[in-house]
């Protein structure tokens, strides 16, 4: 039996869509983990990336740090946070935030750093203060790349939030972990399908967001190049 029909069979049963273990309830939990982790990671990574890109300093160490950071195993951070916090229910937050920070920080840095020097000169020549140049020119021009970093991070967090179920939390990971524990591969396949669909939706959401917030001129340029 193909994997898709396997997952579909489970997902098409009505009682799998109701109650605290139903798909909608698990979706909300999964989104909750993703959104909270993304907001915290963005609050840390965006200012640092913008500042370093603006000043052009520290970028060379950033690559080294990003590389070491990426090697931190998510599962290890999860169980460590869980044990050290004495089984706190927020332990899932640490690995997910740690996972999301490097892509956001590196793309933001690269985006702001890559803004054409002529543009900044022109903005300064028009009488903009350094702060205005940063927020009215550099950040908007870097926005496509910043969004790309946020999107990559969000997709990784959606896919990885499944491990929160390992420390007895909810989300779609619940299906995967429970299915694994009871040798119910149909449940696992259904959980995986939910995560993939959610990841695709996140991808589309960011494409839509890009249409809304990136200036029309920049989008036209991107199409032509």
């Amino acid at each position: 039996m193909s994997y898709f029909s396997f997952a579909w069979q489970w997902l098409s049963l009505a009682h799998h869509w109701a109650g605290s273990n139903g798909v909608p309830a698990r979706l909300i939990e999964h989104l909750e983990y993703t959104v909270i982790a993304m907001v915290i990671a963005a609050a840390i990574a965006l200012p640092v990336g913008v500042l370093m890109g603006h000043t052009g300093r520290g970028g060379l160490t950033l690559v080294g740090i990003a590389n070491v950071w990426r090697s931190l195993p998510t599962l290890g951070l999860l169980v460590l946070a869980f044990i050290l916090s004495g089984g706190a229910s927020w332990a899932w937050l640490i690995p997910l935030v740690a996972l999301a920070i490097p892509p956001i920080m590196v793309t933001t840095y690269e985006g702001v750093l890559g803004v054409d020097a002529d543009l900044k000169d022109a903005a300064a020549g028009m009488g903009m203060t350094p702060r205005q140049v940063l927020f009215k020119v550099e950040v908007p021009v870097a926005l496509p790349l910043i969004l790309l970093g946020l999107r990559t991070a969000a997709i990784q967090v959606v896919a990885t939030a499944t491990i929160a179920a390992y420390i007895s939390l909810g989300g779609f990971g619940r299906y995967i972990i429970d299915g694994l524990a009871t040798n119910n591969y149909q449940l696992v396949a259904a959980g995986a399908a939910c995560v993939v669909v959610l990841a695709l939706l996140v991808q589309f959401a960011f494409t839509g967001l890009g249409r809304l917030v990136v200036s029309a001129g920049l989008r036209q340029q991107a199409r032509q190049s």
């Binding site: 990426r70 696992v188 995986a192 494409t207």
Partner: protein
């Protein structure tokens, strides 16, 4: 610390297993990426659809892939290596394309003018010039792969990930910390080896560290969707 010393032989075994499970898929990813990348550079229209497909594969959750694959492969090393190979492909393939595209047009024309055929030009001129960018992609994928193996611990095949599962069950933080440290060390060693390989393969670039860092930075960028290529 004494726990690590008492269990040194087990730790060495797990580290070796972790390296094997992580790096074989990276090599496979590289071997698949090279011809695929060459094709996509030659036939430009292929690139956006192939890239789109690969970025969808990249979004698949590792744990779910592991578990779903059990139904097909049983509980073997392959179960863990297939998803890692897919992720490696997703990280390496764009860097092969970027690397080949970074070959300056005058260089290509000079090779043509010297009478190099398509194959000879590819092997002796274009691929060597692409090496720094390809290695940057390899570094990202090798490091991610080493750290991702540990998720396989949840299905019993996870190299150092075993320490996380065991440590959690025994409520023993030292074991988890040792596992994290060993994974970071393994990543750093692998990363250093790749940097040395790049130096050996690109003797003309010595003393141009800054430029190489730029190439590394590029590889850190996520996969770009069609129509949103970097300006």
């Amino acid at each position: 610390m004494s726990w690590a010393i008492n269990n040194a032989s087990m730790l060495a075994h797990l580290t070796g297993q972790n390296a094997y499970l992580a790096l074989v898929p990276v090599l496979v990813g590289l071997v698949v990426s090279l011809p695929l990348g060459v094709l996509c550079v030659r036939f430009g229209w292929l690139y956006p659809p192939v890239l789109g497909l690969i970025s969808v594969l990249y979004a698949l959750p590792g744990l779910a892939l592991f578990v779903v694959l059990i139904a097909y492969t049983g509980l073997t090393d392959t179960t863990v290596m297939i998803p890692l190979g897919v992720y490696s492909l997703a990280a390496i393939f764009p860097s092969v394309v970027d690397g080949l595209r970074s070959v300056p047009e005058p260089v290509r024309q000079a090779a043509v003018a010297m009478g190099f055929g398509t194959w000879r030009r590819l092997v002796t001129v274009e691929l060597p010039i692409a090496v720094p960018v390809v290695i940057a992609g390899l570094r990202v994928s090798a490091v991610s792969s080493i750290s991702l193996v540990s998720v396989g611990g949840l299905i019993g095949i996870g190299g150092l990930g075993y320490l996380f599962i065991d440590g959690e069950q025994r409520d023993f933080a030292t074991e988890i910390v040792v596992g994290i440290i060993l994974i970071v060390i393994l990543s750093l060693v692998t990363d250093t080896v790749l940097v040395l390989v790049r130096r050996a393969l690109t003797p003309w670039q010595r003393g141009r560290g800054r430029l190489n860092r730029r190439a590394d930075m590029r590889a850190d960028l996520p996969i770009l969707p069609a129509g949103m290529q970097m300006p």
